[in-house]
Structures are given as structure tokens and as C-alpha cells.
């Protein structure tokens, strides 16, 4: 067993003696006998080398991304993370601290979070950001709840192209207040939002908010977002945006977004099978008091020197309890540190250049896959950055991806909803280029796709 519990000679006996009790058992006399349990039925403890060997052995059953030509994307990125990011994350002053309730002892974390908020403000084009939420999907859920506080109605519009997981999360955030999450269809040619549908829905006066994403669930950039604000008027407008894309795309705040959320994992955080991630959240200043999450503000100390503190806490659960704007307590502060350290290491020019280079690779990939029989690539005509959707004419998505996997290619994300009973949909795959994608990977994918896209089962 590891030496995590101090055991200086006679230490526990001394503590017991000081308390004047014969054994620790006396300290549990308030637990009724009928509530006591016997053995948990766990194994005996292991020493550190055994733990490492045991876990390494299990991890050998994983095949990490580097073993493949990898075209997985979606909201999760596998971009390279500079080594220096992790050396900051491993500063124990950061990773072993807790929520900075005592600002004097926590200026370091508060200041990094202030820088993080500042960066999301720059990227999003809005006025204020919070200090993080769990992930992009839950940030969208919180944004929806903010919209409801800002506007009457009970319908919330989302793109039908949104990943099914995010739709499900949003529906779960809508359950409590009894809201209806409604899907806006997309133009079958471009994949863009059907603005006529939005126009009609808004006229019902029952829509309290709308969410659009950029790039959207198909990987494309919908130019219609520019027109949405004029269409929805005073109905709050949420944009879920990819932070790297925002280094080359117009900040959503500039085209009328009231809330900008996003998934921040791509900035310095390993994919780690999907967690921890980083929920980004920015809004207009006038709505601040209705927003969820921790917020860091600048102030002064008793001697007039600049200082930072958590602020506007009267919105929060530990003070407002059942009338709080959200139940959030723990957030993703350490991941917010990774986000801002990553961006500062790569720099604004480096980030934009990275997005440009990935977009170039994606175009090469699209033309290579577009030449494959049985594959429509890209499926939609709207412009794209690093990823796009393909559609298979014969093979099922699972068969196609499985055939590719056998050739050590992770060919993309099937957009099919895996829940039983969901009506059959076209076989669509979201395919992403990454910074590590090579010309060789692309040719390999195109070659393998020729065989994989043929009809019949695997």
C-alpha cells in the first residue's frame, strides 16, 4: 500500500490517547449497527510499482491515435500540444488548488483565469466570459437557460445537423423548465440552416432562443449565420464556435450573437477519451447577472494594488441556493489554464496559420475522397475549414469505418445516432484533417476508401 497516510511511529496511538479513547472504533459509535457493513469485497492494496504495472498492462489494450492515420475530429481535437503546456499544468500550485475562494492566497489562478476570460472575449467578439463550464455541450445547455431568462417563450431552436450527443444534452437541460428543443432543418444541398423555417418559427412568438454552430455539425461554415440576428430580432442568439476556427472567422459577437459558447479542448488539452474537456462561455455584459459559472474580476487590494477575485457570486448556488442561475460549483479551471497557455505559446499568428494549414489539408483530402466511387465528398456545398461530411452511396457507415480501421485508418465519425429505434439515415461520416495529417495519410485513405465504400457487408 502506498505511503499516503502518515504513519510516524505511534502516531495514531498518540492521537487516540489524546482523545482518551481505546480505538478508532469509538469514533463510529454514532453509526447504527444496522447501518454498518462488513467487507467491501475489494482486493488488497497494491504498491506503486504494482499499480503502474497493472494499469500499463490494461492500457496496452488501447491503440492510441498515433498508431493510425487519424481523421477523427468533431468537437474533439488531437492536435499536437507543446510540451511546455503540460509543464505549467503540472505546477502543483495550480493543479492541487481548489476554487479560489480566498483571493489573497490564489492570485496566480485568478490571474490566469482572468487571462483566459480575456482570450475568449477576444475570440468570441463579446464583452465578458466566465471561468469555464464542463464542456461545449453543457455550455450550450447553460446558454439555452440564459436565453430563457432573457426572453419569453418555450421553444429553443437548434440545427438538425448538431451532433446527436449535443442534442441529447440540450434536451436534458430543457427538461426541468419544461422547454422544447426544436430542430431547424438544413438545406439538403448546402447543409446550411433553413432560414425560412427560422423566420416562420420566430413569427410564432413562442421561440425564446436559437443556437447555431460554426463550423456546424457537418463541419461547414454557414454564411447564413450573418443574417440570423436580423431574422430573430430580440430573440437571444447563441453561437457555438470552435476556438481555432475563430482565428480566421468573424467573431460571432460581430454578427449579433448574444452568447458564444464552445468546446475548448483543442487548445492544449489531450483528448483523453473525451475528458476532461473545457466549456467556453461568453455573453453581453448587460446579461452578466443572469449567467452561470465562476467569474473572475479585477479589483484592488487594501493598499490599492491591483488584485483579482471571484466576483458576482450572488448569482451562484453557494449563496443564492434554489434561485441560483446554475448549480455549477466545480468547473474546468485547470483546463482553462491549458487553453490560455497553449494560445500564448503558439501565438495569434501561429494559431491562424495552423487553421489555414489544416484547412488546406482538408481540401486536398476532400478532392482525394471525392474521386472515390461510392463516396460523395464533401456531401454539402457550404465552405469548410478543417473537416467536412462525406456520404456513402452503398456501404453503411459502420462497415466503411470498420474496413478502414483494419487498414489502420480512423476514417472519421459516423453521424448516425447509435440508439436503437432511431430511423435509418443516410450513411454520413464527419472527416477531419489535423495538423499531423500527411499527404501519405490522405492517399492511403483514398486508396482504402475505394474498397471500403463498395456495397455488401464486411
Amino acid at each position: 500500500m502506498a505511503r499516503w497516510i502518515p504513519d510516524e511511529a505511534g502516531e495514531e496511538a498518540g492521537l487516540l490517547a489524546a482523545l482518551g479513547i481505546p480505538s478508532v472504533e469509538a469514533l463510529f459509535s454514532d453509526v447504527p449497527k444496522k447501518a454498518r457493513i462488513g467487507r467491501l469485497g475489494l482486493s488488497a492494496g497494491l504498491e506503486e510499482p504494482e499499480v503502474v504495472a497493472h494499469i500499463d498492462k490494461i492500457l496496452e489494450r488501447n491503440r492510441p491515435l498515433s498508431k493510425f492515420s487519424n481523421f477523427l475530429g468533431g468537437r474533439i481535437s488531437s492536435r499536437y500540444v507543446p510540451a511546455a503546456v503540460d509543464s505549467i499544468l503540472q505546477r502543483s500550485e495550480f493543479y492541487t488548488s481548489y476554487t479560489p475562494y480566498q483571493p489573497e492566497a490564489s492570485q496566480g489562478m485568478l490571474r490566469v483565469l482572468f487571462e483566459f476570460q480575456s482570450l475568449w472575449v477576444e475570440l468570441s467578439g463579446l464583452d465578458a466570459a466566465n471561468a469555464s463550464l464542463y464542456d461545449g455541450a453543457t455550455a450550450s445547455g447553460e446558454a439555452m437557460l440564459l436565453c430563457r431568462r432573457l426572453h419569453e417563450g418555450h421553444r429553443f431552436l437548434i440545427p438538425a445537423s448538431l451532433p446527436w450527443e449535443e442534442k441529447s444534452v440540450l434536451r436534458n437541460y430543457a427538461v426541468g423548465p419544461g422547454l422544447l428543443v426544436e430542430e431547424v432543418p438544413y438545406d439538403p444541398r448546402t447543409g446550411n440552416l433553413d432560414l425560412e423555417f427560422v423566420r416562420t418559427a420566430i413569427r410564432s412568438h413562442d421561440v425564446f432562443g436559437i443556437l447555431a454552430d460554426v463550423p456546424n455539425g457537418f463541419g461547414h461554415v454557414d454564411e447564413g449565420l450573418w443574417d440570423l440576428k436580423s431574422l430573430v430580432g430580440d430573440v437571444p442568439f447563441v453561437v457555438s464556435a470552435d476556438p481555432l476556427a475563430l482565428t480566421v472567422l468573424e467573431p460571432p459577437g460581430n454578427y449579433g450573437a448574444d452568447v458564444v459558447v464552445g468546446e475548448g479542448q483543442g487548445f492544449g488539452i489531450a483528448p483523453s477519451y473525451g475528458g476532461p474537456l473545457l466549456g467556453l462561455f461568453a455573453c453581453r455584459k448587460e446579461h452578466l447577472r443572469l449567467t452561470p459559472g465562476r467569474i473572475v474580476g479585477a479589483t484592488l487590494d487594501a493598499e490599492g494594488a491591483p488584485a483579482y477575485a471571484l466576483t458576482l457570486q450572488t448569482r451562484e448556488q453557494h449563496i443564492r441556493r434554489s434561485r441560483a442561475t446554475s448549480n455549477i460549483c466545480t468547473n474546468q479551471s485547470l483546463m482553462a489554464v491549458a487553453f490560455v497557455v497553449y494560445a500564448s505559446l503558439v501565438g495569434p499568428r501561429g494559431l491562424a496559420a495552423l487553421q489555414v494549414s489544416i484547412a488546406e489539408k482538408a481540401r486536398t483530402l476532400a478532392s482525394a475522397l471525392g474521386a472515390v466511387e461510392g463516396v460523395q465528398a464533401p456531401r454539402f456545398e457550404a465552405p469548410y475549414l478543417g473537416e467536412f461530411t462525406i456520404e456513402l452511396k452503398q456501404a453503411s457507415g459502420d462497415t466503411f469505418l470498420d474496413r478502414l480501421r483494419r487498414r489502420r485508418i480512423l476514417g472519421g465519425i459516423s453521424l448516425a445516432d447509435p440508439r436503437p429505434g432511431v430511423p435509418p439515415a443516410p450513411a454520413r461520416i464527419l472527416v477531419a484533417a489535423t495538423d499531423s495529417t500527411t499527404e501519405k495519410d490522405i492517399q492511403k485513405y483514398a486508396r482504402a476508401a475505394r474498397a471500403a465504400a463498395a456495397g455488401g457487408s464486411a
Binding site: 492500457l59 477523427l72 496566480g108 476570460q117 479585477a298 495569434p348
Partner: protein, 495 residues
């Protein structure tokens, strides 16, 4: 011990180098003109050493568990094993995409499955999901499960009320409201649930009763079996807030106490790092009635193979985009198997021993509002200090100067000037004695010193009122507030 925190005059990151002047962002061919960013993101261009030096200096102005004892009650600030940090960074753990085919992530699924089996034993509740991002997120999901259950059983129209003690964590009522329930607080008696008040409050409107046990006064709710009977007798569910599980590992568990559903915080009990406020890792544990409603997917084992099962027709669906925080689940697993059966029991015993010992010592300095047999944490009241014009807040700030993190203060609200102290099993007797000595010095210090504290940290007492009055929340605000700022950090033309 006198503490001296680093006090760097460190500028913010944007003041570390000249910001490139307005320059166009690069164009991606094919993008419509109006969707293109016109000006490059405003952020500095820095060398790697500049970045490292900056954030290293900031870290030196932050207090973590490895800096000193971190006595935040209800937060269970225990040592975060270094070995877990190493393991979570293995390629076979960090370089996995959540959408990889199941056949390529068998190891990840196995870790998650094994952790779930351990947690099922620890909680006495057989059905586990690791999907929630943190404790409060688990609360919310559990309440959605309760909702779905009553909806299916035709009782939701009536069962709209969530009961909780007045000592409940703030997240409990907040989660209940989010989930569409009304909340009703039950007044405590001597720091514990008043069974008569609970009996009077439960009805056919009760959806569930949310309880932390041991509670936030550090007391074990000894009438727990009667509480369970009362809630169940009214047809309601009993919800376990696992924030304080550390005290009862291997002693009792939510299942045996009669709880129907629970959330745990792996970042407390299972030693995953709190990271300056997060990430956490939440766990949902459910008994037979609520198990079918857990979020999808569930991890199942067939022979030697693991897979994600989406075929759960009663499931509430997803509450997070991926299946929980794998990186933290791996750390929690390492913690659990390192301790094993006897070790986890020892965790509870030692944390309770520490808390009772320290409670006894500090009880000589300040009054203890309730009975003195406590579990993982204990309460003191700073009321006597008020006669000298000293508040609990002043005492907390003074403790910082001693190199120990302040306790949780002003919570629970049923105690005047509350001070809530938890020093878990990883603190030695020497640490406890030093803590006690520091506490005594602080309590006995002059009001002038207490009011002026802290003196030894990166900043003096922070004006939190000012921060809220005129919110300055970003660099953009600073630029707006101080037009001179542009002069201080010139926006230069590109080199």
C-alpha cells in the same frame, strides 16, 4: 510558521511584449468574405521561455495542497498522488479519441468498468455511471432520473417537491430547481435532521429528500434508517450527496443506509486533483429502481470484451458530450487499487481521527456548536470574536499568513460565524499540531493584526465589493477603463 508567498510584480500576458498592430487575419480560400475575420486575434507573440516564466511566477502566487494544509471543509483536500499524474499522461490513456472504435479502446473501457465495479461496492448501489462532469452535474442527472421514474409511474404531476435539510450544500437546492422541482428546507435540530420535522414535511408531493451523511456539520445522521423509512413511507426517493463520503468508506454506505441514488465526487474522496476549481469527476450510483434511467451509454462486459451499450430505453439520454472525465477516472482507479479494501477503510478511520483530534484542540479556542463526536470535518463558531470587532473572515485571512489555507467559512448558515474545518487522512499529526498552534496564535492575535491580515501573501486584503460593483472582467475592459493602457503597452506596427 510564518509563510511568505512570492510577490512578483508580474504583468499580465498581454503586457509581456508589444502587441502586433492591426493586421489582417489570413484568408482561407472559399470562405465568404463576410464570414472572414478582418483583424487578427489580439494577443501577444511570446517566446516559450517568456510564457513559462510568466505562468511559473503566477503559480508561485497560488496556494496548493503541496504548499501546505488546505483545510476547506466539505472539499476533502487530500494529497493528489503523483503516480496518477504520470499514468494519466501515458499515450495509451491521453491519446484516445472518444469516437474511436470500441475495439481500439478496450483498455479505457476496462479501466472505467473496473472503477465502476469498485464504486458499486463502495456505495452499495449496483448501477454506476461515470458520465457527470462533477458532483453538481451528478445531482442534476440524478434528479432527472427521479423525474423520469415518477413520470413513468404517473406520479410526476403530484411529486414536485424536493426536501433538503437547511445544512445542505448549495448545489442541492440549485440542482433541484434546475430539474424543475420546488425545494423545501427542513430545519435541523442540534445540527442533524429533525426527524419530527421531516415526518411533518413528507407527503405524496415529495419526490425526494437530498441528504449528505455525514452532514455539513460533520455529524453522522444517526437516525438515517428512520429517515429512509420516513421518506420511503411517503413514496419518495432518498438521495445521497457523496461530498462527504470520505468519512464512511468501508464503514457504511449509501445502499445500506437506504439511499436510492447517489452522486460521488472523485476529486474529493478519490484524490483526483481539484485543479483550481476543476476538473472534477462525478459519479452516479443507483439502486434497482433508478438504475434503468442512468445516462447512456453504459459500459458492459461480454466475456473479455467491453462495449458501450446504448440500448437502454428508459435512460435519460446524455448529460455530457462524452463518457465522463476519463483522465480523472483513471487517477481515481489508481487511488482505489492502491488502497484496496483495508486502505480505503483506513482512509475513513484516519480522516475521522484527524478531525476529532483537531476538533478537540481547536474547541479550546472557539465554541463548537454541536456534539463533539464528528466525522470527517467539524464546525466552530467565531461568535465570541465579534465582541472584539473581529469576524470569522478576519480569522480566515490571518490563517493564510501562517501558511495554511483558510477553512470554509460562513457555511452552513445555521451556525453564526461558521468555520468548517476538514483535514483529511493525508495530514500528519505534526501538521495537525502545527495547524492547531497557528489557529491559536491567530485567535489570540490583536484585532488590529486580524483586520490587517493577510500580510505575507502576494496581495493584501482584496476588495471584493469593488470587484462586483464595477465588473472588470477582461483585458478588453481594462483597455476601455484605462485609455492610457494603450500607451503603457504600445500597439506597435508589425516587425
Amino acid at each position: 510558521m510564518t509563510y511568505r508567498q512570492a510577490r512578483w510584480d508580474e504583468p499580465s500576458v498581454w503586457d509581456l511584449s508589444a502587441i502586433p498592430g492591426p493586421e489582417p487575419a489570413p484568408a482561407v480560400p472559399g470562405l465568404p468574405e463576410r464570414m472572414r475575420r478582418k483583424e487578427r486575434v489580439l494577443w501577444p507573440e511570446l517566446s516559450e521561455l517568456q510564457v513559462l516564466r510568466h505562468y511559473t511566477r503566477l503559480s508561485q502566487m497560488n496556494f496548493g495542497i503541496e504548499s501546505g494544509p488546505y483545510a476547506l471543509g466539505s472539499c476533502t483536500m487530500k494529497y493528489n498522488p503523483r503516480v496518477s499524474e504520470v499514468l494519466a499522461r501515458r499515450k495509451g490513456a491521453a491519446e484516445l479519441h472518444p469516437n474511436q472504435p470500441e475495439s481500439t479502446v478496450q483498455g479505457a473501457l476496462e479501466i472505467l468498468w473496473r472503477l465502476e465495479r469498485i464504486l458499486a461496492k463502495v456505495t452499495g448501489l449496483p448501477e454506476i455511471s461515470l458520465q457527470p462532469g462533477a458532483g453538481a452535474h451528478g445531482e442534476y442527472a440524478a434528479l432527472l432520473m427521479v423525474r423520469a421514474y415518477f413520470l413513468e409511474h404517473g406520479e410526476l404531476e403530484r411529486r414536485t417537491e424536493v426536501l433538503l435539510p437547511d445544512t445542505a450544500h448549495g448545489t442541492n437546492p440549485a440542482s433541484a430547481s434546475m430539474a424543475g422541482f420546488t425545494t423545501r428546507e427542513i430545519a435541523s435540530k442540534d445540527g442533524c435532521v429533525d426527524l419530527d420535522a421531516l415526518k411533518a414535511a413528507v407527503s405524496d408531493r415529495t419526490a425526494c429528500f437530498m441528504l449528505t451523511n455525514p452532514n455539513t456539520a460533520g455529524l453522522f445522521e444517526s437516525q438515517i434508517l428512520e429517515i429512509a423509512e420516513t421518506v420511503h413511507g411517503a413514496g419518495g426517493m432518498l438521495y445521497y450527496d457523496g461530498a462527504n463520503l470520505n468519512a464512511i468508506l468501508g464503514i457504511t454506505h449509501p445502499g445500506r443506509m437506504g439511499f436510492d441514488v447517489a452522486h460521488l465526487n472523485l476529486h474529493k474522496t478519490f484524490a483526483t486533483p481539484h485543479g483550481g476549481g476543476g476538473p472534477g469527476a462525478g459519479v452516479l450510483a443507483a439502486g434497482e429502481r433508478l438504475g434503468p434511467y442512468l445516462p447512456i451509454p453504459r459500459i458492459v462486459k461480454n466475456g473479455r470484451k467491453f462495449r458501450l451499450d446504448y440500448d437502454r430505453p428508459k435512460s435519460i439520454g446524455k448529460i455530457k458530450s462524452s463518457y465522463g472525465n476519463f483522465g480523472l477516472d483513471l487517477r481515481a482507479y489508481a487511488f482505489a487499487i492502491s488502497h484496496g479494501e483495508a486502505g480505503l477503510q483506513h482512509v475513513a478511520r484516519r480522516s475521522v481521527l484527524n478531525s476529532n483530534y483537531l476538533g478537540q484542540r481547536l474547541g479550546k479556542s472557539l465554541p463548537r456548536p454541536f456534539r463533539t463526536l464528528v466525522k470527517h470535518e467539524f464546525l466552530l463558531s467565531g461568535t465570541p470574536l465579534k465582541a472584539h470587532g473581529v469576524r470569522t473572515l478576519d480569522l480566515a485571512k490571518r490563517l493564510l499568513d501562517e501558511g495554511i489555507h483558510a477553512p470554509t467559512i460562513y457555511f452552513p448558515s445555521i451556525v453564526d460565524e461558521a468555520i468548517m474545518i476538514e483535514l483529511p487522512e493525508t495530514e500528519s499529526r505534526r501538521d495537525l499540531d502545527e495547524y492547531a498552534a497557528a489557529f491559536e496564535r491567530a485567535v489570540n492575535d490583536t484585532p488590529e493584526h486580524l483586520h490587517a491580515a493577510p500580510q505575507n501573501l502576494a496581495v493584501k486584503r482584496v476588495d471584493e465589493v469593488r470587484a462586483a460593483r464595477e465588473p472588470t472582467l477582461s483585458w478588453k475592459d481594462l483597455r476601455r477603463r484605462t485609455p492610457n493602457h494603450e500607451k503603457a503597452a504600445p500597439v506597435s506596427s508589425p516587425p
